[in-house]
């Protein structure tokens, strides 16, 4: 449950499970609460009430805790385990690509070391590897603003991977990209999902992308969960219920 200070109830009684290794897609109209939902998961926004149970399996330890109850430093810890990419990339455009990737390690680097640029050799090597993984290893020393939109989003993915997260949140990751680039970025998301085994939770606009990439889908309407199932099971009737009568599907190829 999430209620904003102005009284707008962005999310009401939304409850769902995400299994390890899933590619869960969240759909719904603009303003249906998709972004708010993602931001509650890593506490960029404060949920008003409710539980977010996170079963962590790092370092061979099974831990289970409620993200909604995290306080102070625990919140940073939660965010560190959950990578996130955004519609507008949200990388630091004036800084170099490699530095942007290194910022993924800020959560485990002390403030003064990071400000002086003293990242460990291990982290520097990792940053380089992740840039290679998303196919822009040759752009490491470019200024981030010199890259195209699709490349900037791949920098953002590399930064998120740098956190060694267990979950990757993606808020409309391709909404500001052209249709061709859009598939490149989605393919990299699938790659980290299948090859690195990362659980991905992704907001998407286009149903064609949902069917192509999602392993499961949930739909929000006015802050409430209205559908949960397999992407291919969304027929025209469901489409009309989620997006409203008169809505027409747009295809991206």
């Amino acid at each position: 449950m999430k209620t904003y200070p102005n009284g707008v109830r962005a999310l009401k009684g939304v409850s769902f499970d995400v299994k390890r290794g899933e590619f869960l897609v969240i759909i719904g109209l603009s303003g249906s609460g998709k972004s708010t939902l993602l931001r509650c998961l890593n506490r960029l926004h404060e949920p008003t009430s409710g539980e977010i149970i996170f079963r962590s399996e790092s370092d061979g330890m099974r831990k289970e805790f409620d993200i909604a109850k995290a306080e102070g430093k625990q919140i940073y810890e939660v965010r560190r385990k959950i990578g996130m990419i955004f519609q507008h990339f949200n990388i630091i455009e004036r800084h170099s690509v490699i530095n942007n990737v290194l910022y993924g390690s800020l959560g485990r680097t002390s403030a003064w070391r990071s400000i002086l640029g003293l990242y460990s050799q291990e982290d520097r090597r990792k940053a380089k590897d992740y840039l290679d993984l998303v196919g822009i290893g040759d752009k490491a020393h470019y200024r981030a603003s010199q890259l195209s939109g699709g490349q900037q989003q791949r920098v953002a993915i590399a930064r998120a991977l740098m956190q060694s997260p267990e979950i990757l949140l993606a808020d409309e990751p391709v909404a500001s990209l052209d249709p061709a680039t859009c598939h490149t970025v989605m393919d990299y998301l699938r790659k980290v999902n299948t090859e690195l085994g990362l659980t991905v939770i992704c907001n998407l606009h286009f149903l064609s992308l949902v069917r192509q990439y999602g392993t499961r889908v949930i739909a929000l309407k006015a802050g409430e969960l209205v559908y949960e199932g397999h992407p291919n099971d969304i027929d025209e009737a469901w489409f009309a219920r989620i997006y409203g009568e008169g809505a027409r599907e747009v295809h991206v190829n």
């Binding site: 630091i92 910022y103 993924g104 800020l106």
Partner: protein, 347 residues
């Protein structure tokens, strides 16, 4: 603005305009001199409030009939603002007449109070005196040029040091006086408000007044001038800097926060890159303005070339004054050109 708040403001405004106009007419008819006005201050104030009361009643009565008053035009809440009827000329509307009368009264009053007298400009004797002074200033005494250069260098460094000391202090203050950083907690809002108010207060005191204070504190000389400019610069820069911080986009902040970065890291990696260039731009502009002010701080004992200008001007040595004006104008012009060039280059 609340509905009643708007109504109160509107009525007070109309009341003051009414009292102002009536008193203007009374003064025009009775022509009291200022001693008489001061002697009967108590009565005059009472008269003003009496008239204002009548004005307020009139305003309410007129508004009740649905006629728009000037107060209504100025203080109407945004959602009730309507476009005035284009077919009715300004002088046929109630508020238009109010506005025109108030402007005419103010202009006439201003003419009288500033003792405007165009005839003085064309009297023969003073004109020839002024021309002689111009001629002397226009023929500078270049023998004092080296001394003037030494003094303008002092002014440049007064301005530089004031800026240099102000920048780090203003840098730190700018974050704790930015609403988007401090607005999240009640304590933050208190600090934000206190800082903003104190910036505005110290900015409303001109550097020349600060210089007078500091000449008493640290005695005459460039140090006093530097301190005066520094205080003014801290307040100005902190305000401008914090407005830049308030204008940064949230995207990169979310991006860095999502990595689990701490507060200081978020400021350093998400906010600082966005503000560096505008900060530099404002800083250079501040140095430029400080230099201009530093040239006249000497008049109150704040050091620099102003000291020299004051001495020669006091002795009516116009050719020397001419030299100093040339040096000042040249340096200020160069600094101005340099500053606008740098600011254009880093845009």
């Amino acid at each position: 603005m609340s509905e009643t708040g708007g109504k109160i403001r509107r009525t007070i405004f109309d009341a003051i305009v009414f009292a102002y106009l009536v008193i203007f007419v009374l003064v025009a008819i009775m022509r009291p001199d200022s001693d008489e006005l001061i002697e009967q201050m108590g009565f005059n104030v009472a008269l003003f409030f009496g008239l204002a009361f009548i004005g307020g009643v009139i305003s309410l009565a007129v508004s009740a009939k649905g006629i728009k008053t000037l107060g209504e035009v100025i203080y109407a809440p945004a959602h009730r603002r309507t476009v005035s009827d284009p077919d009715t000329p300004l002088w046929q509307t109630f508020w238009g007449v109010q506005l025109i009368l108030a402007l005419i009264a103010t202009f006439v009053l201003g003419w009288v109070l500033t003792e405007v007298n165009p005839l003085l400009l064309i009297e023969a004797e003073p004109i020839s005196q002024a021309m002689r002074l111009f001629a002397e200033v226009a023929d500078p005494d270049w023998s004092i040029l080296p001394k003037a250069i030494m003094k303008i260098i002092e002014s440049i460094f007064i301005a530089f040091m004031a800026t240099a000391f102000a920048v780090p202090i203003a840098f730190v203050l700018s974050f704790i006086s930015a609403r988007n950083i401090m607005g999240k907690s009640p304590i933050g809002m208190v600090i934000y408000t206190l800082l903003r108010v104190s910036f505005n207060l110290s900015r409303s005191i001109e550097p020349i007044l600060w210089a007078i204070i500091f000449t008493i504190w640290v005695s005459f000389g460039p140090f006093a001038g530097m301190l005066a400019l520094m205080v003014h610069s801290i307040a100005s820069l902190a305000k401008q800097y914090s407005e830049i911080v308030e204008g940064v986009s949230d995207g990169p902040i979310e991006g860095i926060e999502a990595t689990g970065a701490g507060r200081l890291q978020t400021v350093w990696f998400a906010i600082v890159p966005q503000i560096v260039l505008p900060y530099i731009s404002y800083t250079i502009y501040r140095w430029d303005t400080n230099l201009r002010m530093a040239t006249i701080l000497g008049f109150v004992g704040g050091g620099g070339i102003g000291t020299m200008l004051m001495e020669y001007q006091g002795q009516s040595r116009w050719p020397q004054v001419g030299t100093i004006i040339v040096v000042m104008a040249f340096v200020v012009w160069v600094m101005d050109a340099f500053s606008s060039h740098v600011r254009a280059a880093i845009k």
